[in-house]
Amino acid sequence: MGVTDTIKAPEAGTPIEEPRVRDRADLARQVRLVITFAITLALLVWFALNIENTSVTYVLGERVTVDDKPKELTTTWVSWGAVVVSAVALVLAALNRFPRRWPGALLALLVGITFYLGFLMWAYADQGGAFQAAIANPIPGTMRIATPLVLGALAGCLCERAGVINIAIEGQFLAGAFFASVFTSVAYSSLVFIPVALCAPFGLVGGVIAGVGVAAMLGLFALRYEVNQVVLGVVLVAFASGLTAFLLGQIPGSEKDTFNNPQILEEIRIPGLADIPVLGEALFNQTILVYLMYVSVAVVTFLLFETRWGLRVRSVGEHPKAADTVGIRVNRVRWQAVLLGGVFAGLGGAYYTVGSTGAFDRDVSAGTGFIALAAVIMGRWHPIGATFAAIFFGFMWNLQNQLSFVDKLPVELLGAAPYLATIIAVAGFVGRVRPPAADGEPYVKS
């Protein structure tokens, strides 16, 4: 047995790649990892050493409620456990033994989570405020904030995989938000066609119609009139922002209830799934929009990578001429992708009115369409990658919201944190990305 073990070991572990010739990229990777983990470790040690009162409170739900009383937690174990994890990662990286591919990604994720926990311990310990804030579950807020970003990013992925640059996600959000609000309000105030409970979901229809409307303009000008698509996207955002503000101004104050005072989507608890501890309540007690987001990610990924249509979309985005040669109608496929993208972007826009706060306000989506665009690029034009990028952003944003009750960090630094984190992530780890080869090029049959 001993003999077979020694023979087997190299096969099961790292394949025969011991005498590697190390190129510059490999060296750069090691340097990057060592620097990252060194900084992580230094910060974690600093966090751990700067806690005086080692008791913090936490709840598993999103906020402290009567049923969900804060529980005590001693920070010492968490803080030093996090230090150990990043120390191990640092040693592995220094010895160039940090795993590659998905084990590496998992280990990096583990370091990230423990860093987050170590940071939380420091942030919530020794609070000087009037009341003691408790650490709360970050997942529900993350998912809510990420929902429109994911949907917008899916729209971006669909368009750009087909070779049409979509900078107008923000415009689709605005149009979707406005018309979702109008549809719900009108449906509610007339009470004729639709039962009250379905008014808010009916707003989603309005959002989708508006999103597809902006997408149709994108398609018309990009595909029919061959307008420069970067120009077009910027212009459509300005147009949608101006038009929705203009239309909002047309609603007189007395008619506000009829046109711009929507019901808000209610949370639907999925029995069974919602009973999973910690995660269940967070993921499966959300509005229908969030569930639609889950489904959309799966649908878009499946469509793009498992169906004939998806293959066509990707081919017209990479090499339209070749696609045309084998009989694919380039512009028709592009039209389909752009319009389908409009569906998702319109749904995402609906989040900003019926999905969250209610009434439409001028520029209600506040530039998040551009964040979704950034998520598309960060996710390298892949729906799953873009989804993770969007969730990362939602997580940072939610963290900022939760930490605003704690006075350890200046408000402005917290506010800038999601954006700084994105810059660091893009500059440090994503780096050069390769867009679909024909992205932004109109196809003219010759």
Binding site: L243, F246, G431
Partner: protein
């Protein structure tokens, strides 16, 4: 990563003699397309005015008995709206001054976006570059007590340095790590905003005895002097456009920028440092955005607050696009948008048309300018070839 297309360049002088005639001919399609686009945008705008006027809507209810009422009221509404627009932008010396003052920052920031476009980069970050430039310029402007000329120069320098640093970061990140400038400039916009808010919360940035996030206006010694009511900052903006034209069309650096913008791989093969071009182009683009905020702070003497840049940083993109990323075009586009924005206010006051109207008009103009095929189709113009310049076309 940016792919660019280059066709005929209207601004570049033709190599052949008799420059007057041939240059005009090269210009003609551009001018025609642009004018056609403006007219078409005004027509669509007229529809919006018609259907947002209550009296016109009311007259629709009895359209079939008195159709004449509808057309009469509609015509009156459109006439009122557009004459107020013209009046408010060019109708009086005061209106012209307002137009020029609104055009000045648009021209500067638009030049910054144009320059980045020519280098093949899409600079969405004029907003953040303005804010960071504003922190320095404002602080120098209201915090210090310096002699007249020197104070203005230093405050102006502050604006340029602040903008240059913020733009330079995006250029540096693109050159060194390949981080896409669209992402980094968007993010830097937000970071710049929070940086400004951080400083505005400091006591030395606030008016004495007040808590709100608004600084005092800059000292008179740090402001641009006025000529005939127009602050001289406007002329600085025009000078900046001239300088950028010279740099782009006549200098080695400008040649490198255009080469990198047209094809970075070819430029690299030819021995140019693409990284250096990215960094310097974004730095200068940031400087121009800084100059734009100087127009607001040192020209109009607006107090420094988080609204100091308004939407100028984003309008600058449309200005640059309408100006086809050339300095002269940017100046003209800036003037047009300045007129629309100052006329938009008058339109609201005199004719009750919402001020968002001018934003819609701006968007439509650029949209139609970018779609010459549509404009030519509508006005039955003859297709006289494409008239565009080097511009970022893809990622």
């Amino acid at each position: 990563m940016s792919e660019t297309t280059t066709t005929q360049e209207p601004v570049a002088p033709q190599p052949k003699p008799s420059p007057g005639a041939s240059r005009w001919e090269a210009w003609l399609p551009t001018v025609k397309d642009t004018l056609g686009a403006i007219v078409l945008a005004l027509l669509v705008g007229a529809l919006l005015i018609i259907f947002s006027t209550p009296r016109v809507i009311e007259s629709l209810s009895y359209f079939f008995s008195y159709p004449w009422d509808f057309f009469r009221y509609a015509a009156i509404a459109v006439w009122d709206g557009y004459s107020a627009l013209l009046d408010g932008s060019l109708g009086s010396p005061g209106a012209i001054v307002r137009t020029l003052e609104r055009a000045a920052p648009l021209i500067c920031a638009g030049l910054g976006v144009s320059l980045a476009f020519r280098a093949g980069m899409f600079n969405i970050g004029a907003q953040g570059q303005m804010l960071v430039g504003g922190i320095l310029a404002g602080w120098i402007g209201f915090h210090f007590d310096l002699p007249v000329g020197l104070h203005l120069l230093l405050a102006l320098l502050g604006a340029l340095v602040g903008g240059a640093v913020w733009g330079g970061i995006a250029g540096f990140l693109k050159a060194q790590t390949g981080a896409h400038e669209v992402i980094t400039t968007i993010m830097l916009n937000y970071v710049g905003r929070f940086l400004l808010l951080y400083f505005l919360a400091k006591e030395s940035f606030q008016r004495p005895g007040q808590e709100n996030l608004l600084s005092p206006p800059v000292a008179d010694s740090a402001s641009f002097p006025s000529i005939l009511g127009v602050h001289t900052g406007f002329f600085v903006a025009v000078l900046a456009a001239l300088l950028i034209w010279w740099l782009l069309e006549r200098s080695t650096w400008g040649f490198e920028i255009r080469a990198v913008g047209a094809n970075p791989d070819a430029a690299r093969t030819a021995g140019m440092s693409v990284a250096r071009v990215y960094i310097t182009a974004m730095t200068v683009a940031g400087m121009l955005a800084g100059l734009a905020v100087a127009m607001q702070l040192l020209g109009r003497q607006d107090p420094l607050g988080d609204q100091i840049a308004g939407t100028i940083g984003f309008d600058a993109i449309t200005v640059a696009l309408l100006g086809r990323a050339t300095p002269l075009g940017t100046v003209l586009a800036g003037l047009l948008f300045g007129a629309l924005s100052s006329g938009g206010l008058a339109m609201q006051a005199a004719a009750g048309v919402p001020p968002e109207m001018s934003q819609v008009l701006q968007a439509l103009i650029v949209l139609f300018v970018a779609a010459p095929a549509l404009v030519r189709g509508v006005f039955r113009m003859r297709d006289t070839g494409q008239a565009s310049t080097v511009m970022a076309k893809g990622w």
